[in-house]
């Protein structure tokens, strides 16, 4: 089941009763003809007729798509802008047009935060009455309002145990474990401390602001649900100045109103199918036309049921789906001896924070002692784990802001320092830098959790200023218990209040752009942006206006970061050209007044969607066209996938995004290509088989793609019949290439989406491949054949891309299928690769997985014939694009289809010095055709400040985004060079970044020093890098099938960041402690929110139960000695041995513990496209390795443990 119901535009055809109006039907009959000017909808009428003439449109065809300066009619006809009537003209009510999709009445009462609300639309120019109230939330949205002020202001009062710190309470008063200051740190003197206290309040204005969050509010944990220890204390003087911030306000949270499309016109003509006129069956081509399909016409063997028996034998040897072959036996890194479970007590009560005096005493403990020989190891595992993992309670308290407090504090060390400098913040040798800037290190959420773990530390100030520094070698529990929000972006004074783009959509690896390229080189961080442009959004303002305001020089869309020279002119923030504002823009639809352009939704929201007028169309918007290609070769029949795919498709036929013009078609292929004719006169679908696969042709130009609405019954019948038809043993050949060529011929007149199901290596006809994998080399250091073997699929994808056809591949292979070559068809046509290795329909979990995956795929929103252009401020250029698309020019991506699950990455270069700029802006504009046949433009704008020194750059790095970009770069590197080189490069990233930090801070070299210092912003970088190296795509030494590796690389290239991160570094939760972490207030049902554990066997107790979530799979791991009470409460069994090992679901029973676990799993599943697979493992399970191989902090054969990795990095840091 999909958790993210796609946008109603696409996926709920007819859900709103008044959905289809006459205006929309317009396009149906004019499908691919140029619209004559006279027929153009009202919106077109505003333009010079010249621009509407077909001739003109033809001339503009390239330019329109390129959106270059000269292409815009507004540019060509300057009179257009000024001579237009005022928007009042558009305010005439247009009753039939109003409800494009979900009406407010429908969508308003769905305030549940988790499932995204239907995308609501604002009606900007039309029907005004509801607008003012609905736009209100743009400024003070209830969800944001509930988030922001409480975080800053509420919480326990400053609870420092008697320390005279009230003035700086927000830094110093947080309860939590004591923090250790490493020996490197120097305490500032009182004099340098004082000025910091007197810094202007403005510097802290944005400190407490939560980040903009488009996601469902509960994802950002509300303060109430946090453990008591993690309540932030913010003195009011700091939050006062941040009152009423529009900045970071999420997009309007009120229900936007839609402006209906202006397209209107005659309706109702039946679709004319374009394409080949007349059969081109040459005499040399043999077409065998079979009688219509149907149960009655199915050949004998099928009826006799031999097909069923044919599926029997292969389904016998079932092996776990993703268990790597020949993998080493499960490691024994799990604790054997009894341990005191301390997972439940990781959150100290706020008041019981260890007294301040303890922490200082420990700072001089020898490092090696702390790591290697901690006293008080009380359990067995440590011996097995190697010396680097001391048991938790024995850890001396250290400067680990994130780690859970480690039990009793060891007293005993003298605390001279403490008495001398009772509350001195250490601020890391950079007073001048600190005084200069206030980098966006921690937003309120992150800070909340972070500070909760800190006692009154000297790092308080550095942390506030974002210059917090951490000794990685000493900070053992580096992983924050709760996911961190990305670092906050703090723009300059002028735009401090401007809404920036959500970090879920647009994210940069460095939140303050280095002002010169040399500075960037010095920081040695990768500079790039990650973008998730078509993400399902809860609140998206949609605008329809006669003129979309864009810069005339660079075609930038107007956005919140432009400068208004005066009321009539604006200055582009990317190229700095001064443009005129159209008259219309003066009108504010909220207050219905003129004169203040800054109140327009374009200025108030960094993510906005326009309904594009006619000049953004090269041709009338295409209908939704879906073509499905099913592999029916022998191996495919054995796997039995066809039944599931057809059933899923049949069940979701009504949810396919589209309108009345939606077309659908099917092709099956083994060593021949089978077409299915569903034309008007037929009562049953008719199969036509083309034997000639070398020279593919379409046996019938018509009726291979049929209108879904008109032929729904026939399509359903075909989907019922197909699995039976192909249940008999078949031929081994798979002519995928020929089928794809046929699909291209069929689709090229319209464009659309081709879905390919493939189960084996294509071995006949064009595009035939040979097996390249050497099964003996699966664990070798060097991996060959990551490159395509032939360019057939790539060329086909390029042809498809030109015809606006995207190819999605579902690879359900049970043997090597050369995904490296096959994936070309999706990579360059903006498709997606889905991979389920060793698929057998008889394994219910796999068929369920396919069902969920395919359901989401079918029902999610889709954009057709899309292009995305990313513009940057002058001086910055895009170097390389990552993702699935075809790069058509230096900043333009051609995306035949765009899906809400596709993410993109871009590497940037700094070409000119940016030192005279205030900020750098990026704007991504995605122009697409919705499944309802509307042309729309979604615009995201991100603005980032500039940094002028190395410290600022390093401290504003966004480590998660860096990992996202790096993984994509590493995939590129392993394909273009080699895997070992890519691994080397990944390792060097940590060395480089920490070396740069060492340089910036003048610390001693890694080999000399006993510490490895990292800026707080990069403290997780080594951990993530290590995790990345252990991912399937990059791991060596462990047996990994080549296809699995390539599939993982494909996933890395096009996953959105959140999904990618979860795959890189899975989340481990103690589920035996769910109850302690369930929010106290019982007003409404809240899901448990346990802290994440580190991925180390050290954290696994045999008396506990754990859930490890890597995005694809949730592994529930139950220890041997888990309490019977927990077992019976959660699983309904009394002993571990009664648990079904490798069960693929959690039984649902009527107990509280079970309900909690299900609520928790549902919560985890909420933010991903489809629910993850669940597997339940016992401690003694033979598949335990599934679990242990994901404990990435531990050592496995041939791969570093975290501590070894750190030591390695430390020795390299120069």
């Amino acid at each position: 089941m999909s958790n993210l119901p796609p946008n109603p535009y696409n996926s709920l055809p007819g859900a709103p009763p008044i959905n289809v109006n006459t205006g929309q039907v317009l396009n149906h009959n004019q499908q691919f003809n140029q619209l004559p000017a006279s027929q153009l909808p009202p919106g077109y009428g505003l333009k010079d007729t010249n621009s509407n003439s077909p001739l003109h449109r033809q001339q503009n065809s390239v330019n329109n798509l390129n959106q270059s300066a000269s292409s815009s009619p507004a540019f060509n006809q300057p009179g257009l802008v000024t001579s237009q009537p005022s928007p009042i003209r558009h305010m005439a009510p247009k009753p039939p047009n109003i409800p494009q999709s979900a009406s407010p009445a429908i969508s308003n009462p769905s305030p549940t935060p988790y499932p995204p609300n239907f995308q609501l639309q604002h009606q900007i120019n039309d029907n005004t009455p509801p607008l003012s109230s609905q736009y209100q939330p743009l400024v003070n949205g209830p969800p944001t309002g509930s988030l922001r002020p409480p975080i800053n202001l509420s919480g326990p009062p400053i609870s420092l145990s008697g320390q005279p710190v009230s003035q700086f309470g927000q830094h110093t008063s947080l309860p939590g474990p004591p923090s250790n200051i490493s020996g490197q740190q120097q305490y500032s003197t009182s004099s340098s401390y004082q000025p910091m206290g007197n810094r202007p309040p403005a510097s802290a204005t944005e400190f407490g602001l939560p980040p903009a969050n488009y996601g469902p509010p509960p994802l950002a944990r509300p303060p109430g649900s946090q453990p008591p220890a993690s309540t932030i204390v913010q003195p009011s003087q700091f939050s006062v100045s941040s009152s009423g911030p529009v900045r970071n306000t999420p997009l309007p949270s009120g229900p936007p109103v839609n402006v209906p499309p202006t397209l209107s016109g005659p309706a109702g003509q039946p679709l004319k199918h374009l394409g080949m006129n007349g059969p081109n069956l040459g005499p040399q081509n043999q077409a065998i036309i079979r009688p219509p399909l149907g149960p009655s016409s199915v050949p004998g063997p099928i009826v006799s049921g031999s097909g069923i028996s044919s599926m029997g034998p292969p389904s016998g040897p079932i092996s776990p789906p993703s268990a790597p072959m020949g993998a080493p036996p499960g490691r024994t890194g799990l604790p054997l001896g009894p341990r005191s479970p301390n997972n439940g007590t990781q959150m100290p009560p706020p008041v019981s924070g260890p007294p301040l005096q303890t922490y200082l005493g420990h700072q001089n403990l020898p490092l090696t002692n702390q790591y290697l020989g901690p006293p008080g190891l009380n359990t067995g595992p440590i011996g097995m784990k190697g010396p680097n993992i001391p048991h938790q309670p024995s850890m001396p308290p250290m400067s680990q802001p994130m780690g859970p407090p480690s039990g009793p504090i060891q007293p005993g060390q003298p605390s001279n320092l403490q008495s001398r400098y009772p509350q001195m913040p250490s601020y890391n040798n950079q007073p001048q830098a600190i005084a200069k800037q206030y980098p966006p290190q921690y937003n309120a959420q992150g800070l909340t959790q972070q500070m909760s773990q800190l006692s009154v530390t000297k790092q308080g100030f550095d942390q506030l200023w974002g210059h917090h520094m951490i000794d990685l070698l000493q900070c053992k529990h580096i992983l924050p218990e709760y996911p961190e929000e990305p670092p906050e972006i703090r723009l300059g004074h002028q735009f401090a209040e401007s809404p920036n783009c959500s970090s879920e959509i647009f994210r940069c690896t460095i939140n303050r752009i280095p002002e010169t390229n040399s500075l960037l080189q010095k920081s040695r961080l990768p500079l790039g942006i990650l973008i998730h442009p078509f993400k399902d959004l809860n609140h998206l303002p949609v605008i329809q206006c006669a003129t979309i305001v864009r810069c005339r020089a660079c075609r930038t869309y107007i956005n919140p970061f432009v400068y208004f020279v005066d009321a009539k002119r604006w200055k582009c923030n990317l190229c700095y050209r001064v443009n005129d504002l159209p008259e219309e823009f003066q009108y504010d639809p909220v207050s219905k007044s003129y004169g203040d352009p800054s109140r327009r939704p374009e200025i108030k929201s960094a993510t906005i969607e326009y309904i594009a007028p006619g000049e953004y169309m090269l041709r009338p918007p295409q209908p939704a066209v879906y073509l499905f290609l099913f592999d029916v070769s022998q191996i495919a029949r054995e796997s039995g996938y066809l039944q599931i795919a057809c059933d899923t498709l049949r069940n979701n036929l009504d949810q396919l995004p589209g309108d009345a013009r939606t077309q659908i078609g099917f092709i099956c292929f083994d060593s021949h290509v089978h077409y299915y004719l569903m034309s008007e006169g037929l009562t049953r679908p008719m199969e036509m088989t083309v034997l000639d696969i070398e020279d593919v042709f379409l046996p019938s130009p018509d009726s291979l793609l049929v209108n879904l609405g008109e032929r729904r019954e026939m399509v359903k019948e075909l989907l019922t019949v197909l699995p039976q038809r192909y249940s008999t043993p078949g031929v081994p050949g798979s002519a995928l290439g020929a089928a794809l060529q046929a699909a291209f011929k069929l689709m090229s007149p319209t464009g659309g989406r081709v879905t390919v199901f493939q189960t084996c290596l294509p071995n006949v006809g064009p595009g035939a491949l040979q097996s390249r994998e050497d099964p003996n080399a699966r664990s070798s250091k060097e991996v060959a054949h990551l490159n395509p073997a032939v360019d057939f699929y790539k060329r086909l994808a390029l042809d498809c891309s030109g015809a606006q056809v995207a190819v999605d591949l579902f690879l359900l292979n049970s043997q090597y299928s050369d995904l490296a070559t096959l994936s070309g068809m999706s990579k360059f046509s903006a498709g997606t690769v889905y991979h389920i290795p060793l698929f057998r329909a008889t394994r219910t979990w796999q068929s369920e997985q396919l069902n969920r995956m395919f359901t989401r795929y079918l029902t999610r929103k889709i954009g057709f014939e899309a292009v995305m252009r990313v513009r940057c401020t002058r001086g910055i250029a895009i170097h390389t694009f990552h993702g699935n698309f075809f790069v058509r020019s230096t900043d333009l991506l051609s995306l035949p289809n765009v899906s809400p699950d596709a993410g993109f990455g871009m590497q940037l270069t700094i070409e000119e010095s940016l030192s005279d700029l205030q900020q750098v802006c990026f704007q991504a504009a995605l122009l697409y055709t919705s499944s309802k046949g509307e042309r729309r433009i979604r615009v995201h704008t991100l603005a980032l400040p500039i940094a002028s020194n190395l410290t600022d750059v390093l401290h504003s790095a966004d480590q998660q985004c860096i990992i996202g970009l790096l993984s994509k770069m590493a995939v590129d590197r392993s394909v273009s060079a080699s895997l070992s080189e890519a691994r080397e490069a990944v390792m060097n990233v940590a060395v480089d970044a920490l070396s740069a930090h060492r340089l910036a801070q003048n610390l001693p070299a890694g080999t000399v020093s006993s510490a490895l210092h990292a800026p707080a912003s990069l403290r997780l970088l080594p951990l993530y890098l290590l995790a990345l190296l252990k991912r399937k795509a990059f791991r060596t030494g462990t047996s990994t099938r080549l296809d699995d590796r390539v599939a993982d690389m494909c996933a890395l290239k096009c996953s959105p960041l959140a999904q990618l991160l979860r795959g890189v570094h899975p989340d481990l939760y103690p589920i035996h402690a769910l109850r302690e972490h369930t929010a106290a207030d019982q007003d409404e049902e809240t899901a448990p929110d346990p802290p994440r554990l580190q991925l180390s066997a050290e954290r696994i107790s045999i008396t506990g139960a754990y859930l490890l979530d890597d995005g694809d799979m949730m592994i529930v791991y139950v220890g041997t000695n888990v309490s019977p009470a927990f077992l019976s409460d959660t699983f309904g069994v009394t002993a571990v041995s009664q648990l079904p090992d490798e069960a693929r679901s959690i039984p649902k029973i009527e107990t509280e513990g079970n309900a909690l676990l299900h609520a928790f799993i549902d919560k985890l599943n909420d933010d991903r496209p489809y629910a993850s697979e669940i597997i339940l493992l016992r401690d003694n399970s033979p598949s335990k390795q599934l679990f242990t191989e994901r404990l990435i902090e531990d050592r496995v054969e041939s791969a570093f443990s975290y501590h070894e990795f750190l030591t390695h990095v430390k020795n390299q840091v120069k």
Binding site: N787, D791, F792, K827, H879, R888, T890
Partner: protein, 144 residues
């Protein structure tokens, strides 16, 4: 004899070199067009790829002539370019047709820069060698 084989080689080399100069000018222009978004990379690759092998063969032809006529110096200065050409073609992306340029990777900023730089350097080289061949031809003719 007034018209020796070396002189003939130089005359052919001059003519061929003029073609090569045109090729590299075209190359430079083509990549400039790509950089400034005037052309679709697929079209551009389709027009560039058929020219790669002819250019290499023409260049090889004049060097064969130099080899046969014993013009060792002219041959020597061309050997690096021949080696580069061989290397370049050997490491080309996987493609079924002749040529070097892959539309999916050509828009990468690195590839684009390399190709453009290669065009300029080759242009300079061909221009200089044009005058060298001219000089060589005159020397050979006078010597005869």
């Amino acid at each position: 004899m007034a018209f020796s084989f070396p002189a003939f080689s130089y005359i052919i080399a001059l003519i061929v070199d003029a073609f090569l100069i045109f090729f590299s000018i075209f190359h430079v222009i083509a990549f400039d067009e790509l950089k400034t978004d005037y052309k679709n990379p697929i079209d551009q690759c389709n027009s560039l790829n058929p020219l790669v092998l002819p250019e290499y063969l023409l260049h090889l032809l004049i060097n064969v002539l130099f080899l046969l006529s014993g013009e060792w110096f002219s041959l020597l200065i061309n050997v690096p370019l021949i080696l580069y050409h061989i290397h370049r073609y050997y490491t080309r992306p996987v493609m079924s047709g002749p040529g070097l340029y892959d539309p999916t990777s050509i828009m990468n900023a690195d590839v684009l820069t390399v190709c453009q730089r290669e065009g300029w350097i080759k242009l300079a080289f061909y221009l200089l060698s044009f005058f060298l061949y001219l000089y060589g031809m005159i020397v050979v003719l006078i010597a005869a």
